[in-house]
Amino acid sequence: MKGRKRHGWRRVINGVTISTFVIVVLLAAPLYWLIVSSFKTPEAMGVSPPQYFPSPVSGANYSDAFKQYDFGIYFRNSLIVSLVATALVLIFGTLAGYALARTPMRGKFTTMVTLLMISLFPAIALIAPLYLLMRQVGWLNSYQALIIPYTAFNLPFSIWILRNYMLGIPKEMEETGRIDGASPLRTIWSIILPMALPGVFTAAIFCFTACWTEFLMALTFNDVNTYKTIPVGIATFGTPTLTPYGEIFAASVVAVVPIGILVFIFRKFVVSGLTSGAVKG
């Protein structure tokens, strides 16, 4: 049985390919429906039998989402919060990852384990104290109310990834840098960082996605319209009597697009970043 090569039509139509196809269809179906429905008019939305392709094709949902439902504001807020948090995570994560990978320091293992424990902590348990803290500091309904916690919660994972990547860089690289005369920061910037770029991209993707889709804290801290992020914004699109499905779908499509593009561009790193260090340890 082992090593039997399939020939002819069995190469294309067999158990493996059929199940893969089924799984892909099941996963893609909701996405397809989302995109297709976002271009439907309200009447065509609930029609039976359902339209598998919108007719007529209408962009009204999109313009409404932005004009009537302030989606532009939510998009902007999500962008600011996610980008800043990701930038902070990358800066601190790189430096921390390098320190944990390289410097002769006691308690490195303890630090790594502590970081791991922090990342496993359920955010919901911290919501109440964090809310009180934000209220006391006067940061409710602001960008920093989200940026700071997002940075804190995403740092452990990024530090892990970046540290693993840097462990894979041969020590001679830094030694050569030292001999050439580079200061430690210069070494990190010119030598280590370019070589750890895959790890950096991986950390960036995961962090950005996590911030972009975070709901709990965004809902709790920023409930004023001008500071809502996309997940919260879309959830509060409607009123008790009217649920604007078309606009919700349109907004969701727009929300998914940046993530989709990023993950598509950096798909190699998403896989490799998670498995790097798995062989070397």
Binding site: E175, T176, R178, I179, S190, P194, M195
Partner: protein, 385 residues
């Protein structure tokens, strides 16, 4: 003036491992000094201490006449070539070579001129805009050298730079490295475990073992006059044949197993301390080329051995033989396969290509006693006087 002087240099690691013990070594200006020894002998540690990549536990290190124990690698004005080249993979060859100069804020036109000059010396001019990933092993090695020479440092340090190359390329690069070093006239410390590299490249060679310096000498002198058993067995390929033997009265004979080799008077004359060992056990050493096949009717000092294996090299025959004397093994001096042969009592002789001998024959060797080596059985030191 870029001499390097090590005085009682010691390196003890945190876990207590004593890697380098009281090392004294002086390297002259412009000299090519090779540090050679088996793995773990401390040669790389010593090199890294000179580079400033390892802290010096005790002792004095001077470059030029300045004590540099506490100085950073950059301040010591040294350049290093690593075994795996350590090229910056994201930079082009030009940027790799010029990186150190860029860090020193060298003006752009000077930087370009120096990089081009280094590239020309190394034959890399056509490859300046490639990245290391696009180069062959030999080219990468030359880029690593380019990075070192462009700085015009006081000292070159090289840590087994040719180990990653295939045999043929290694031979080629040996000559290249030696040529460049002569051209630059920079003091060089070169670490290798390959004694052929050591012998062919060094002005002087330092043999190390277990952190202790064994002998420093020119290659030929090291070969002809090893100070102890380890150096005798380590230098030379195939290795020297070392046997347990007993010195006769006045050092005029040597008993090896059941055979007695008559020694000419010159042997005792050259080694005044030898007659004092009469009746005692010593270790006698004979290099393979000192055991040519004896012509018929030969009546000089001779040895008869059973030939086990005859290897025809074309220019000569390498005969693996046994006699009934005990062979002596110097720990760590030879590789595993040779060590196994030694423990079986096998010796190696190099005889003329047309000698009529085949496995199973008894072969008589005309022993060349002039360069025979004798070692004290307890201390392992050469018996000279």
């Amino acid at each position: 003036m870029a001499t390097v002087s090590m005085e009682k240099l010691n390196k003890v690691y945190e876990n207590g491992f004593h890697a380098v013990k009281d090392m004294d070594l002086d390297i002259q200006d412009g000299e090519f000094m090779v540090l050679v020894g088996p793995s773990g002998c401390g040669k790389t540690t010593a090199l890294r201490m000179v580079a400033g990549l390892e802290d010096i536990t005790s002792g004095e290190l001077r470059i030029g006449d300045k004590r540099v124990n506490e100085e950073t690698p950059k301040e010591r004005d040294i350049a290093m070539v690593f075994q795996n080249y350590a090229l910056y993979p994201h930079m082009t060859v030009r940027e790799n070579i010029g990186f150190a100069l860029k860090l020193r804020k060298t003006p752009k036109d000077q930087l370009t001129a120096k990089v081009n000059e280094a590239a020309e010396i190394l034959g890399l001019t056509d490859w300046l805009d490639r990245k290391p990933g696009q180069l062959s092993g030999g080219q990468r090695q030359r880029v690593a050298m380019g990075r070192a020479i462009v700085r015009q440092p006081s000292v070159f340090l090289m840590d087994e730079p040719l180990s990653n190359l295939d045999a043929k390329l290694r031979v080629q690069m040996r000559a290249e490295v030696a040529r460049i070093q002569r051209h630059m006239a920079v003091s060089t410390i070169y670490v290798t475990h390959d004694q052929v590299e050591a012998m062919t490249m060094g002005d002087r060679v330092t043999v190390m073992r277990s952190g202790v310096l064994q002998q420093v000498d020119t290659p030929q002198h090291l070969y002809d006059n090893p100070d102890n058993l380890f150096v005798a067995a380590f230098i030379g390929s195939p290795a020297m044949n070392l046997y347990d033997g007993v010195i006769g009265e006045g050092a005029r004979s040597l008993k090896l197993g059941s055979q007695v080799v008559n020694l000419p008077d010159s042997v005792a004359l050259k080694r005044p301390a030898l007659p004092g060992y009469a009746g005692k056990d010593v270790v006698a050493g004979l290099r393979p080329e000192h055991l040519p096949a004896a012509p018929p009717n030969y009546d000089g000092p001779k040895l008869v051995g059973d030939a086990n294996l005859v290897e025809a090299l074309g220019s000569e025959l390498v005969v693996h033989f046994t006699i009934d004397a005990n062979r002596v093994l110097a720990e760590g001096a030879v590789d595993k396969d040779e060590a196994a042969a030694v423990l079986h009592g096998e010796g190696v002789a190099r005889v003329a290509a047309k000698t009529p001998v085949k496995p199973g024959d008894k072969l008589t060797f005309a022993v060349d006693c002039e360069d025979m080596q004798f070692f004290d059985k307890d201390t392992g030191l050469a018996i000279r006087g």
